[in-house]
Amino acid sequence: MIALLLRDLRLALRAGGGFGLGLAFFLLVAVLVPLGVGPEPATLARIAPGILWVGALLACLLSLDRIFALDHEDGSLDLLATAPIPLEGVVAVKAAAHWIVTGLPLTLVSPLLGLLMNLPPDGYPLLLASLAIGTPALSVIGTFGAALTVGLKRGGLLLSLLVLPLYVPTLVFGAEAVRRGAAGMDVATPFLLLGGITAGVAALLPFASAAAVRINLR
């Protein structure tokens, strides 16, 4: 499984595209929103948590179709399906690799973009923490969406349509945690719920994703 993880990471880094593209997209969102809504610091501070979370979510969405598409095209997905490790494990590793190349960098640069969005100082540690806890859920759910659409020629748009509603709970709790933190309120509840979603999704969804991949490979 570690070998598979390293292989996926190496492919993602050397083939280019996904890794930097998601970050650039995230940056663009954080630049475009102030241009769109105007530069008043108070307005920006109020919408910053939500915008940063939505930006991270969309940036995550961009690279989802790469999770299985390339492996499906060159046939290595079939090999992985017959490999000694169960397909559920393969799917979980793929989700982890996707998180490391998109979710983790997004989390790390988010304070910088918080600066652009005039996020209140209390919000920074919470933004980091909520993205660190929430983005794994985005990757796991996204892997499920990618597994559903792996056999399709033009699955990109369909993938977004399938995955975005599934992102709702994560987005609500994640943005709510930062918003409450920035307003100086108690953040334990949204954080616990966010952690619960990530843990539950990571434990259960790989089974659904693996089932979907199996159906698509049949």
């Binding site: 349509l161 709702v168 709790f173 709510e176």
Partner: protein, 242 residues
Amino acid sequence: MSIWEYANPKKFMETSSIALPWAAAGALLCLLVGLVWGFFFTPDDYKQGSTVKIIYLHVPSALMAINAWLMMLVASLIWLVRRHHVSALAAKAAGPVGLTFTLVALVTGAVWGQPMWGTWWAWDPRLTSFLILALFYLGYIALWQAIENPDTAADLTSVLCIVGSVFAVLSRYAVNFWNQGLHQGASLSLDKEENVADVFYFPLLVCIGGFVLLFLTLVLLRTRTEIRVRRVQALLARERMA
């Protein structure tokens, strides 16, 4: 005699052709009685005036929007466990019907909200979760459309339906998190002391019955169509082979 007999398409077609006119007539009768009773023979609410009558469309369609998804969930599970094609086709048939009910509930809600709340739309938990439900229906229908192999499509949409159900419930509670919002609580529960007054209650029940029968009629009709489409495809395939 077991319910699985109806998994046989021929048996299903025979039985549904008998049941269909009855369901359709029942739906028509209930809706006619319920709506006429509701619209013309109930008093106006002392606060809401005659806008209260939107309830006869709004509540039943909202109820059926959720029940249609539940029915799809059960049908999907049956397909995954027992591989009865009629079940998968019934789930497929229910998708657009459920979406329509969801949209009807949203539109009638907006029409009602405008005079009552002064706004067409508010990001209230109930409203938001219904919008999300509409998105789930859209995704489900789009997945059916996108996949060519019918068995693969049935399998994948079933998996999506099960996962989607969990997330639909999660979303419902997630948006609840904001606050109670503008929408009132349930006023039709069986176990609550304060429900909607009897004058409104009975025509509403008739309307709900009408919507249930309407749903049944539409799903039967659409399932029959799907089965016929399958038969035509099978015939065409056989012709090509010959």
